[in-house]
Structure formats: C-alpha cells, structure tokens
Symmetry: C2
Subunit: 117 residues, 2 copies
C-alpha cells in the first residue's frame, strides 16, 4: 500500500487539496453503480427501445431478442437504479424511461468511441 516515489510534481498542499476534494467513498460507490448499469449491452438495448417508446416486458424481449426472464431481471436492475418507471394495466406492465439525461450520456460516449450514431 505504501509506495515510495512521491514524484514531487505537485506540492504537499496540492496533494492535500486534491484529497480534500475527493468525493466520499459513498459518492464514488454510487457513481460506479450508476455507470455499471450502462456497462451491459442488453441493458443498453432495453434503454434504447424505451427511449423510443413505452413498452411492455414481452415486447421488449421480442425487440431485444432476449428471454422474458432475462428482460425482467434487467428491468429490475433498471428500476432499482431509477432509470425506468412502470405503469400497470391488467397483467401488463409498461416500462418507460424515468431519466432524460440518458441521451446526453450516450452522446458523450459515442463521441469518445468515435461513432456517428
């Protein structure tokens, strides 16, 4: 854990300042959880479809070419992280996006990987 070096590119005061402004472990953990949700192709697909239309579970499974159970599990993840919301109608559960920041996230990511959508 304790490595030498201390390259002295920056001063002690600067180090203290950087450490002082370091987000708490809790905030960092939440940030990681946030991004982890987007780190799976299946979830990204589901989010894409939901960005285009409110959809029920079966239709999401059909569009994403995934099993119903897999979709349901992933939607649970998306629900718990508050990216999607649900509306129930009889036995059908309709999912839609809760958070509209998603598109801007994708924009930054696509720019980085150099794709023109």
């Amino acid at each position: 854990m304790i490595d030498k070096c201390l390259c002295k590119l920056i001063s002690e005061e600067e180090i203290d300042k950087i450490l002082g402004q370091l987000p708490t472990d809790d905030t960092i953990a939440k940030l990681a959880e946030f991004f982890k949700v987007f780190g799976d192709p299946s979830r990204l697909k589901l989010l894409y479809f939901l960005s285009r239309s409110e959809l029920c579970v079966a239709d999401l499974a059909s569009l994403a070419k995934m099993g119903q159970s897999a979709v349901s599990h992933q939607l649970k993840t998306l629900r718990l992280s508050r990216f999607v919301k649900t509306r129930k109608e009889g036995t059908v559960v309709y999912y839609s996006l809760e958070d509209m920041h998603i598109q801007s996230l994708f924009d930054v990511a696509l720019e980085h990987i150099g794709e023109e959508v």
Copy 2:
C-alpha cells in the same frame, strides 16, 4: 425468445423504424465497454486524481490507497480504452487524462444520483 403480447401500443411501422435505427451490435458493445470502465470505484478514484494532476503510478497508488499492482492493472484498462495517456521519464511513468469529456459524464451522473459533488 418469442414472446406473445405485441401490445400494439405502437404500430408495425414504428417498430420497424425503431429497429432500423437501433445501433449495430458493435456500437452497442463499444458503448457498454465505455461505461463499464467507469463502473468501478477504483478506476473512478484514479480518474479523479488524474483529472487534478499528472501523476506517476506510485503516487496514484498512494493517493488511492491501492497496491501498486492493482493500480498498474487498472491503468492498463484505462490506457486500452484510451482514457489516459502516458509520458515516460527515466523509470517513472506519468499518467494523465486523454479525454476531457469525463467531467461532463460525472456531472450527469452526479445529477442523477442527487449528490452535490
């Protein structure tokens, strides 16, 4: 895979349009890889420190309270996904951010999880 329902909330034409505009599997995979990099607390910490200063491996390990090997492994991940770049000086390797979109990513994420940095 083939589930029933077809809730008909949207028309066939709309479905075709949505499927037609679906990014390729390759693009989706790259997007997921992009976000996966941010889905780990250790890497987030390292990126935070690098967003404040160019730093060598040992100092990063010291700041992040991580082992040198762990830091080196994670820096490799960050290098391969082109988030950081290196500069060598003797035996010391200095890392710095390659990509400046990172801060805007964090802003969106922090807004979502409801933290005031």
